[in-house]
């Protein structure tokens, strides 16, 4: 599934793209979806690198991307250990997009994790409140990826803070929850699922006995792999009853959308259209190569926390493929001016 060889001489544009870790599905879909959209036919040759979740591999990839002298590059950095690679990129003068995690030499393209957490918490919180869940009978289980840093974990920390507010728990500020926090007041437990299926399964299976059997549970994690692992453990322990469990997903991937559609417990999905991140990143790379300067510090990616009703609007066939991606806003409108996004023709309001 490698990209074709970059060659700028025939008028096509070359972009090198270093992904976070291709053996993890969350990141893998960025690659496969963009491949499926056939960027080469839209005048952009994308060459893929895999950071393998390892900072030294990222360093090596950045060095090599520079050797290839593309028109622009996209970097999905590993953690925020990016100062070193930023220096290399800045020295090379090649325009660069940093995806999801910032790198100082690059323009930042990102979702707003905090907002995702807040919005998801509002939806789930309201449903829980209607059911009569409150501080006396509810435990909120949030799953972080401790080693990934605050950028990623902001979603779950904000989620807890907001849901506590809605359900009248003891108030907790998002930044009062850190990587080493486990027990949050009397109503919250944070576990470390490492963003992946099996470790989440094991972490939750380990702690499940510490949640009294009659408690209602609200589950939210940094991504749906983690949520699914946790859910499997809850079900294994007989704690998966529809009247006792509410879930908000994060990712908008196939399982998340399917669950939102079919699973009564799964009441919200933070759709970040992650499959299409590659498309936006390449569009932004093209804009940068054309000399455009992004208007905001962070160029927003589309995001939308859906409830069950909204699902059909955006994903009519229940797959990650969208009818139309949400419209652009003032901070990312410049992406719509690129030939690439126009050629794609799948963003509302961009022709």
């Amino acid at each position: 599934s490698g990209g074709s060889t970059a060659d700028a001489s025939d008028g096509t544009m070359t972009v090198t793209f270093a992904n976070y870790n291709e053996s993890v599905p969350f990141f893998q879909v960025i690659h496969t979806t963009l491949d499926g959209l056939d960027p080469a036919s839209k005048g952009v040759d994308v060459t893929w690198f895999d950071n393998k979740g390892d900072a030294s591999t990222m360093l090596q990839n950045v060095q090599q991307m520079i050797v290839e002298q593309p028109n622009a590059m996209v970097l999905y950095p590993v953690s925020s250990a990016t100062d070193g690679v930023s220096k290399l990129i800045a020295d090379s003068g090649i325009p660069c997009v940093a995806l999801n995690i910032d790198a100082s030499a690059c323009s930042f393209l990102n979702i707003d994790n905090a907002a995702l957490g807040d919005e998801s918490a509002t939806i789930v919180g309201e449903i829980a409140k209607q059911r009569g869940w409150d501080a006396s009978n509810t435990t909120v289980l949030i799953g972080q990826n401790a080693a990934a840093g605050e950028g990623v974990n902001a979603a779950v920390h904000h989620f807890y803070s907001t849901v506590a507010d809605v359900l009248g728990f003891e108030a907790v500020a998002p930044d009062a929850i850190s990587a080493t926090t486990t027990t949050i007041g009397t109503n919250g437990i944070q576990f470390d699922g490492g963003s992946t299926l099996q470790p989440s399964f094991e972490a939750v299976q380990g702690l499940i006995a510490s949640i009294p059997a009659d408690r209602n549970i609200i589950l939210y994690t940094v991504n749906n792999d983690s949520t699914n692992g946790a859910l499997r453990a809850l079900e294994d322990a007989g704690r998966g009853g529809a009247d006792k469990l509410l879930i908000a997903g994060l990712g908008g991937d196939e399982t998340g959308l399917a669950s939102l559609k079919n699973d009564p417990r799964w009441v919200a999905e933070g759709d970040i259209f992650v499959s299409y991140w590659g498309e936006y990143a390449v569009a932004m790379a093209q804009a940068l190569a054309d000399g455009v300067k992004p208007p905001a510090d962070v160029t927003p990616l589309p995001q939308l926390v859906m409830n069950k009703e909204q699902l059909a609007t955006y994903h009519p066939d229940g797959t990650t493929a969208v009818a139309k991606l949400p419209p652009l806003n003032e901070d990312n409108r410049f992406l719509g001016d690129t030939g690439f996004l126009k050629a794609m023709g799948n963003v509302e309001g961009v022709e």
Binding site: V24, T181, D192, Q198, E202, A203, A209
Partner: protein, 322 residues
């Protein structure tokens, strides 16, 4: 103990084995005691079943791993076989193959990996570390390639039954583990094949001169080890209801740790199932207990290291005092 006075010669060997097992058993009791005093839930039926059902996967891998370790090698490639088996099982059953035929194919695939390991080690004379590290890369990569790096949820609704509660409310995989532990123990302790494995590990040259087919014995332990890892992969996938190319990638060091904790040595010739089972349980109780008492993950890592050192250190001291 009256037995031993009747047959005095028996005395010599048994206490030597059991002294280490005693220390380990004592250690397990202490670990359990500490967590039980910290959390009333720790010894609840539900939680004990959790510990057992989680330990079954790593236990199955360890039952395999004990064989190469006794024979004087070890197998790092189980970390590739476990996810490969899970992915393969998901793909095959999703393609409509029945559970049993799919299981047979997956076990056979595991056997092939083991055979390759065995041939690399006995024929190409590549040392077990490099040989199994190499096949780990290949097999782990294969698992990702055939799953295209994605999670594969099972479409066959019967898969979950494989690891559901069975007899006495205990999960099926726990019974599977118990059964296989007994089988492997019997093979190691009461058959000539088991004897040969110990002899090969104890002194490979002496075993060769004693007319033992050293290469066959060595190859066979890797085949069995990989097949048990494949079985563990199927169990894990059916627990997760998903075939995942990254599920189980730490099982190699975990299983080697459990087996060595249980009294095996990297130099070969010693070790066994009872110790291994204790090792698996200690690690399982520890990780469960820390999760249950909400120890932050970074501290869990530190504590696991310290407990490991303490457990092995103690059994060493006990051994030297003899």
């Amino acid at each position: 103990m009256t037995e031993s006075s009747i047959r005095p010669t028996r005395r010599v060997r048994l206490p030597r084995l059991s002294s280490q097992l005693l220390v380990l058993g004592g250690f397990l009791v202490v670990v359990v005691g500490v967590f039980a005093s910290m959390s009333a839930n720790f010894l609840s039926t539900a939680n004990v079943l959790n510990i057992l059902s989680i330990s079954a996967v790593i236990g199955l891998v360890s039952l395999g791993q004990v064989l190469p370790l006794i024979s004087g090698g070890f197998d790092l490639s189980v970390s590739g076989v476990v996810p490969l088996a899970g992915v393969l099982f998901a793909l095959l059953t999703n393609a409509g193959l029945g559970l049993v035929p799919a299981l047979v194919v997956v076990l056979a695939a595991g056997g092939v990996v083991g055979l390759v390991n065995g041939l690399l080690i006995t024929r190409a004379r590549i040392n077990p570390l490099i040989a199994t590290l190499g096949t780990l890369s290949v097999v782990g990569g294969l698992a990702l390639v055939i799953s295209n790096g994605l999670q594969i949820p099972f479409t066959n609704p019967d898969v979950g039954a494989l690891t559901s509660r069975g007899l006495f409310g205990v999960n099926n995989q726990v019974w599977l583990f118990v059964g296989l532990a007994i089988v492997v123990h019997i093979v190691l302790s009461y058959t000539s094949y088991g004897r040969r494995i110990y002899a090969v590990g104890g002194n490979v040259e002496a075993a060769r001169l004693a007319g033992i087919r050293v290469n066959s014995v060595t190859s066979s332990v890797y085949v069995l080890c990989s097949m048990l890892a494949a079985l563990a992969g199927v169990v894990l996938a059916s627990q997760l209801l998903t075939g995942s190319g990254t599920a189980g990638i730490n099982t190699n060091l975990q299983s080697i740790t459990a087996v060595i904790l249980g009294g095996a040595a990297l130099t070969g010739g010693v070790g066994g199932v009872p110790g291994t089972v204790l090792g698996v349980l200690i690690l399982g109780a520890l990780s469960n207990g820390m999760a249950l008492t909400h120890v932050p993950s970074f501290y869990q890592t530190i504590a696991t290291g310290l407990v490991l050192l303490a457990a092995v250190g103690l059994s060493q001291i006990r051994r030297r005092l003899r």
